[in-house]
């Protein structure tokens, strides 16, 4: 539940985007389980469609319009938005920010939205799920929910770029050059957050469709750094980062003649393990690189 500013609590509509339901259902499964156990209620809005992000390179105005359509749907349902994908979070957050700053833009956007019977007046809050865990659920409740501490486990946090940036649109909720929300959450689970060179670097996913080898070379840097420093897994919060590090890891190993076998967990999967869920309940069997070593460390198979 979120504070809408007028003191009323509004439920969050869960915004899945395109990639999660089609390619990384385990992220959705784990997030819904963890949210429910922590008392976060989600509403599902069947009409949600693309966030606009992939269109921005062709026409930023249409991209913003697609984002605004989702904001209007949430407003109509009396909800704020909880997104799981950082690109969706960024796209919806940027649009909400621009529309809140520019009344003329809001008016022209509404003229377009009228063609599909919608109207946006403003005020829908967009939050990444992990930001809600960190900011709204908070340390006390999360530590109280941890029944299987991840003692001895080393997790390398990977902050998706659009979770934090552009910082102006995100209200600068934490310093994008020195963020610590993921590190904090990892600590609250009892695991150790790994500090490593290139921690804030992009996964390269944004250029995957344009130049695959370049994109994979960008991802490779991080896999190398965290392997050398003894991470048990990466903990990340975006389906596209996951595609780069988990789905494409074998390809990276082949192209660059390396061996990492680095498990990649969504942060809600790691939190779910700490909260006592079984790996299967969190879709861990769908992770491409099995986190066997990590499960061993906490007495699971």
């Amino acid at each position: 539940m979120s504070d809408s500013g007028n003191g009323n609590k509004r439920p969050y509509a869960l915004y899945l985007g395109c990639t999660i339901p089609a390619r990384v259902q385990h992220y959705e499964i784990a997030s819904r389980k963890v949210a429910k156990a922590l008392g976060i209620e989600f509403t599902d809005i069947n009409d949600f469609a693309c966030c606009g992000y992939p269109i921005a390179s062709l026409d930023a105005r249409t991209a913003r319009l697609l984002a605004a359509r989702n904001l209007a749907l949430a407003e109509k349902a009396g909800c704020d938005i909880c997104a799981l994908c950082t690109a969706c979070t960024g796209s919806l957050t940027e649009a909400a920010h621009e529309l809140s700053q520019n009344p003329d833009l809001l008016e022209s956007t509404n003229k377009d939205l009228a063609a599909v019977g919608l109207r946006y007046t403003g005020g829908v809050k967009v939050r990444h799920f992990v930001r809600i865990l960190w900011e709204e659920v908070g340390r006390q409740k999360i530590e109280a929910a941890v029944v299987r501490r991840l003692d001895g486990v080393v997790l390398a946090p990977h902050y998706g770029c659009h979770y934090l940036k552009p910082s102006e649109a995100h209200g600068e909720f934490e310093d994008c050059e020195a963020p610590h929300s993921l590190d904090d959450l990892i600590g609250w689970m009892g695991a150790r957050p790994l500090d490593y060179p290139g921690k804030l670097k992009c996964c390269g996913g944004g250029v995957l469709a344009v130049d695959e080898k370049l994109a994979l070379a960008i991802s490779r840097g991080k896999l190398r750094a965290i392997t050398q420093r003894g991470a048990d897994a990466i903990a990340l919060i975006c389906p596209f980062c996951n595609i780069m590090y988990d789905t494409n890891q074998k390809k990276i190993e082949t192209i660059f003649g390396a061996s990492y076998q680095m498990p990649v967990l969504f942060l809600p999967q790691a939190l779910g393990l700490a909260m006592g869920f079984e790996p299967r309940d969190l879709g861990v069997q769908m992770n491409r690189v099995p986190p066997r070593g990590l499960l061993d460390k906490i007495g699971l198979k």
Partner: protein
């Protein structure tokens, strides 16, 4: 002869014909994220922190900003490098002059599209979204799988997106 205090053009008129289009710089400056670009003093912080430039020298944001300000319209809009930005915003966050570097890259792509230059990868994504409202297809099989996993079913197509694309004339831009 002009009096000695007449302002002289800033840009060099002796450059090869057709290479420089002065209106291009002003056009970019007037668009989304462009205004701040005039403050660029070419320090190179954008390029130093860029995850793409670190690996591939074809992409150099400092150089691109200088090319735009010089008015090298065709060289910029017809280049492959404008499509190599990963959109991570590191340059934009670190720029000491507040230049919206990442936003300028997006604007340049939009301008290339207006000139009829559409990168095939983005074109393909746009066509999928126009058709279904999403990039990846949700088939009956996916929905069955979702129901088995206790997840709500999803709509296979969202017609609104077609309507909005038509209204924005996206189809014409896609060529």
């Amino acid at each position: 002869m002009a009096p000695p205090d007449t302002p002289q053009p800033v840009l060099d008129d002796t450059a090869p014909a057709g290479a420089i289009d002065r209106r291009f710089a002003l056009d970019v400056v007037s668009r989304a994220g462009g205004r701040q670009m005039l403050r660029c003093f070419a320090c190179g912080t954008c390029t130093a922190g860029c995850p793409v430039a670190e690996i591939d020298e074809r992409y150099n944001p400092r150089r691109i900003i200088r090319m735009v300000l010089t008015g090298l319209k065709d060289e910029v809009l017809q280049s492959e490098f404008i499509w190599l930005c990963a959109g991570c915003y590191t340059c934009q966050e670190r720029c000491p002059q507040g230049v919206h570097v990442a936003e300028v890259m997006r604007t340049l792509r939009n301008m290339a599209v207006e000139e009829g230059i559409v990168h095939p990868a983005f074109k393909a994504q746009a066509e999928l979204i126009r058709g279904m409202g999403r990039i990846y297809e949700i088939e009956d099989f996916d929905n069955k799988k979702r129901v088995r996993a206790g997840l709500p079913e999803l709509r296979k197509t969202v017609e609104d997106i077609k309507t909005l694309f038509e209204r924005q004339k996206v189809n014409e831009r896609l060529g």
